[in-house]
């Protein structure tokens, strides 16, 4: 607007220096401005400001909207099938997001999914925001995401993790052909989950042209849905790769496949070196000979020259070899179960450590439940990894059994403690039975000592997250009275009770129709 620009330029330079604006304009505004000139006793400055006030109002009153380009219109999201959760359930979710309480937040999402509720629409941005930083939330968010969530994610590149599952395999294949390494890695990861064979085929096709860094990243993706179908590629291409990282990853993956040529070679190396000497009353595991050297073929199969234990060099090589072999091999070879074999190893004066350490790694590597069960009592308390081979149910029965043989939860009764930690650190909730017993025990132990060093206090926070909610009604009462006074102990108990009650309220809110 010319008249406005004139006014601004005069105001900027000052009426002292700049000539007065002409104030010429068409239409009604022009007439108004004209009248201003007729007014007596109006200073130059007054005239400028009055004119500016008029034009400014004229502009504001005449504000126009912009006609949008109709092609830019995004389409609306389809209606979600799931109903929105209750106001209270939404409030709970909002609190969890605010606190970045990922643990219970995951439970909220899972329980909501279970009962067919969706989060309030207005909370979706903050939820997606949090999940974009915190990877552990992504899968539960993806699982629960309805049309609206996905629609929203299409508008923000930071939320694209939600859409990766949306893109179908054809698109991933296209991305693999044309994308940069990070995108190709993403595509490979998704394809590996949905269609492992074709992911392997794609990788095989371009393998020889891939740069080293890409090969290192790509081959690690084969750990998802690993099967014997991958064995030829890993054996023939991976183990002979130029890069050490690729060779090592290949060897580790092959070591997880009991039928692989690598494991067969390993068995062939070990077989003559180990024997079972059977006496009348007992048997004895014996190492007939240790490997004299670690040759190229052994290194190719993943044996490391760097010592993995405090044993001698040669014993260390043997231990590494043993740890690769599926422990079931020994059951077959000596026709004994895991319990029997581990007991024999335990009684071996010279080779106890070698066998137990090797089998522990092997059991974990091959996720052998029976071997884990056999090894845990012998290796306790340091058995965290082995506990992962057990189901939560097995962990619980192991815990309950150990508990009957002890007089407390955490009294240097290491088996109980180990089982307890393993149970609480797993992602699964405890059973109702186990929860009740645990709760009872905890209250009792706090009765005998309410000192803040009582170790039971350190497991209460984790217990609050895993406790079965059918026991929620029992959390408020039964604590020693003087523990309820204001003290650090009370704080821990309070927060335990609050967490359980929060989870309980969440369950009730989300499960009500």
């Amino acid at each position: 607007m010319l008249v406005w620009d004139e006014l601004v330029s005069t105001a900027l330079m000052g009426t002292e220096r700049e000539i007065a604006p002409s104030l010429v304009c068409d239409g009604a505004l022009g007439k108004m401005l004209e009248r201003l000139k007729e007014r007596a006793n109006l200073t130059k400055e007054g005239a400028l400001l009055s004119a500016a006030a008029m034009v400014e109002l004229y502009k504001r009153a005449g504000a126009l909207t912009i006609k949008s380009d109709s092609t830019e219109q995004s389409c609306a999201c389809p209606e979600d099938e799931l109903p929105e959760c209750s106001f209270r359930a939404g409030m709970l979710l909002s609190t969890l997001i605010e606190d970045r309480n990922t643990g219970i937040l995951t439970e909220w999402l899972t329980v909501a999914k279970q009962f067919g509720k969706r989060p309030p629409s207005l909370l979706l941005p903050r939820l997606l925001e949090l999940a974009s930083y915190d990877r552990s939330l992504r899968q539960p968010v993806i699982d629960l995401a309805g049309h609206r969530t996905r629609w929203l994610a299409t508008h923000n590149p930071a939320w694209s993790f939600l859409l990766q599952a949306e893109v179908d395999d054809a698109d991933h294949k296209a991305l693999w052909e044309t994308g940069q390494t990070p995108e190709r890695l993403g595509a490979l990861r998704v394809l590996r989950r949905t269609d492992p064979a074709s992911a392997l085929a794609l990788l095989t096709k371009t393998w020889s042209e891939e740069p080293a860094d890409a090969r290192i990243a790509f081959i690690a993706e084969l750990q998802n849905n690993l099967s014997m179908a991958d064995e030829p590629f890993l054996e023939e291409r991976g183990l002979d790769d130029k890069r050490k990282e690729v060779r090592e990853t290949s060897a580790q993956l092959l070591a997880k496949l009991p039928e692989s040529r690598l494991i067969k070679r390993m068995i062939a190396r070990v077989e003559p070196r180990i024997e079972m000497k059977r006496h009348d009353l007992y048997s004895e595991l014996q190492v007939v000979s240790l490997p004299e050297q670690c040759d190229k073929a052994m290194i190719r199969d993943g044996i490391s020259l760097r010592q993995q234990s405090a044993m001698g060099e040669k014993a260390d090589w043997l231990m590494q070899m043993l740890s690769i072999i599926h422990p079931g091999y020994w059951n077959e070879r000596f026709e004994m179960d895991a319990n029997k074999l581990t007991t024999i190893a335990q009684n071996s004066k010279d080779w106890r450590r070698l066998f137990l350490s090797a089998w522990r790694v092997a059991a974990e590597r091959h996720q052998s439940t029976s071997w884990a069960e056999a090894l845990i009592p012998l290796l306790a308390p340091d058995v965290g990894g082995l506990m992962s081979c057990l189901s939560q149910q097995q962990r619980e029965s192991f815990f309950l059994e150990a508990l009957t043989a002890s007089n407390g939860l955490i009294r240097g009764q290491t088996r109980v403690e180990q089982a307890l930690y393993a149970m609480l650190s797993s992602e699964y909730p405890l059973s109702e039975h186990c929860s009740r017993i645990l709760l009872e025990k905890s209250k009792k132990e706090l009765t005998s000592s309410t000192h803040y060093t009582n170790p039971i206090l350190s497991v209460l926070p984790a217990m609050a997250l895993r406790l079965n909610l059918s026991a929620a009604g029992e959390v408020t009462t039964g604590w020693r009275e003087d523990a309820m006074e204001f003290s650090p102990v009370r704080k821990v108990i309070d927060s335990f009770i609050e967490t359980v009650q929060f989870r309980h309220e969440m369950l009730i809110e989300l499960s009500s129709p």
Binding site: W4, L7, V8, T10, A11, L12, M13, G14, T15, E16, R17, T43, K44, E45, G46, L49, S50, A52, A53, E56, L57, R60, A61, G62, A63, L64, T65, I66, K67, S68, S70, E72, Q73, S74, C75, A76, C77, F87, R88, M91, T95, E98, D99, S121, L122, P125, R126, E129, H147, R148, W151, L152, H155, N156, P157, T476, D494, I497, E498, Q501
Partner: protein, 440 residues
């Protein structure tokens, strides 16, 4: 009013952290001697000190009083107590209130009674002559302050904005302070708003000229206020910063309607919190703004809850385009808001704005209710609203989360939006989507 809903309680929270702290206290284990009756609810909460805090709430308007040292209102104990009442009424014993509760309730009742009876006693004003004298003195003071302001504004454009471009906040603060001393706080506020304009970058001179011209218009109007219509006089006086006697206004007959509380926003400037509550009359179609101010740890008025509708009588302040109002009477029964009535197109809304501007040129924030509009995102960072005629208008969204919330609330479908139009952009305050009201 009885037990509130959780939603109601949370809308009382002064901020998110209070709401969270209140939630944590909403557990019967944290309280002793919980009780309630028709007029109040109370309890004692163990804090970090030796004696528990005594928290009491008047159920007539949810005003809270607590012995804790918190400066927030209501404090977390008040919120916690109300939240507990909303979800676990059985934790409270119905009984006669103890002394520390009943005395407080009685005191509050007395204050309200006194307020009510005052205007009915014409003899009460102490001395009309002295009052008139005081008013005349003030007017004179303002007059000379406004004259000073006139010269100051003219000086600005005589010397040119270029010469003051590098002036800091102090330059504007000094003039604002002179106006406060002259008892013209409204003008002072306008001057303060200019501080910072010159550092805005491109177009700052346009903005500053607009602001300065606006103030000049007001100064000019005040200089010949006697020649203008009474309602316009009232608007000018309000803009300058004269206050009105609330009791006199409340004594008048108001507008009775089914009012929807369509938005509520609390703004904080130093220690003063101001709560802007927008209402929309169902039958009259009128819009009203109820303000509540609280200084320091005083409580804001909690009698109007956003997202509800209620029968009420509102008395408007005298104005040529009345918006500001006082709540005179309200029914206790409220119901959840299910729709916001508004303009279907921006053209209509902007016409209404232009009409209002023609009547009050000093109008800063204009209420705008829009129906069937779709929030859209452009270039991944700017939010707009689009109406049914495919026209778009920019939104004043200061943090991305608010923008995303709008988008999430609509899902690309038409929704109702209520906001304040500042002449260029719309500040969204609340939405109504799929029959649900949400504050932004």
């Amino acid at each position: 009013m009885g037990a509130p809903t959780q939603e109601q309680v949370l809308s009382l929270a002064p901020d998110d952290s209070s709401a969270k702290a209140g939630r944590e206290l909403a557990s019967a284990r944290k309280w002793l001697n919980l009780g309630f009756n028709q007029s109040a609810v109370w309890g004692e909460c163990q804090g970090s000190g030796a004696t528990p805090y005594q928290t009491r709430i008047d159920l007539a308007d949810y005003a809270a009083k607590c012995t804790c040292p918190s400066r927030k209102f209501p404090c977390k104990h008040g919120l916690g107590l109300l939240l507990l009442l909303s979800k676990e009424e059985t934790a409270f014993k119905q009984m006669e209130s103890p002394g520390w509760v009943s005395e407080w309730i009685a005191g509050r009742k007395q204050k309200v009674e006194k307020k009510k009876t005052d205007p009915d006693e014409p003899a009460a004003p102490p001395d009309p002559a002295a009052q008139a004298k005081r008013a005349a003195e003030r007017t004179n003071k303002v007059k000379s302050g406004v004259q000073d302001m006139d010269r100051w504004l003219q000086d600005l454009v005589r010397q040119g904005f270029a010469s003051i471009q590098n002036e800091g906040y102090g330059f504007w603060e000094a003039q604002a302070k002179r106006l406060v001393d002259a008892q013209a706080p409204g003008l002072a506020r306008l001057v303060k708003q200019c501080a910072g304009t010159s550092s805005l970058g491109e177009g700052w001179q346009d903005k500053l000229l607009g602001q300065v011209a606006q103030m000049y218009l007001l100064v000019e109007a005040f200089s010949r206020i006697d020649q203008l219509a009474p309602d316009t006089q009232a608007d000018i006086r309000t803009a300058i910063g004269f206050t009105s006697n609330q009791d006199e206004i409340l004594a008048q007959t108001g507008v009775t309607d089914q009012w929807s509380v369509v938005a509520q926003r609390v703004e904080q400037e130093e220690k003063l919190r101001s709560q802007r509550t927008w209402l929309h009359g169902k039958n009259t179609g009128r819009l009203a703004l109820v303000l509540s101010f609280a200084y320091g740890n005083a409580a804001l008025d909690t009698s109007l809850l956003a997202g509800h509708e209620l029968g009420a009588e509102l008395v408007f302040y005298p104005s040529a385009y009345p918006l500001r109002a006082l709540l005179k009477k309200k029914e206790e029964q409220t119901k959840l808001l299910e729709e916001i009535n508004g303009h279907e197109t921006f053209e209509h809304a902007l016409t209404a704005y232009a009409d209002a501007l023609a009547i009050i040129p000093w109008l800063e924030r204009f209420p705008m209710a829009l129906k069937n509009v779709v929030p859209i995102l452009v270039d991944g960072k700017r939010f707009y609203l689009r109406d049914g005629e495919n026209n778009v208008t920019p939104l004043a969204v200061y943090d991305m989360t608010t923008g995303w919330q709008l988008l999430a609330g609509s899902g690309g479908h038409p929704i109702s939006v209520f906001g304040e139009w500042d002449g260029n952009r719309l500040l969204p305050l609340s939405i109504l989507a799929q029959g649900r009201f949400c504050r932004l």
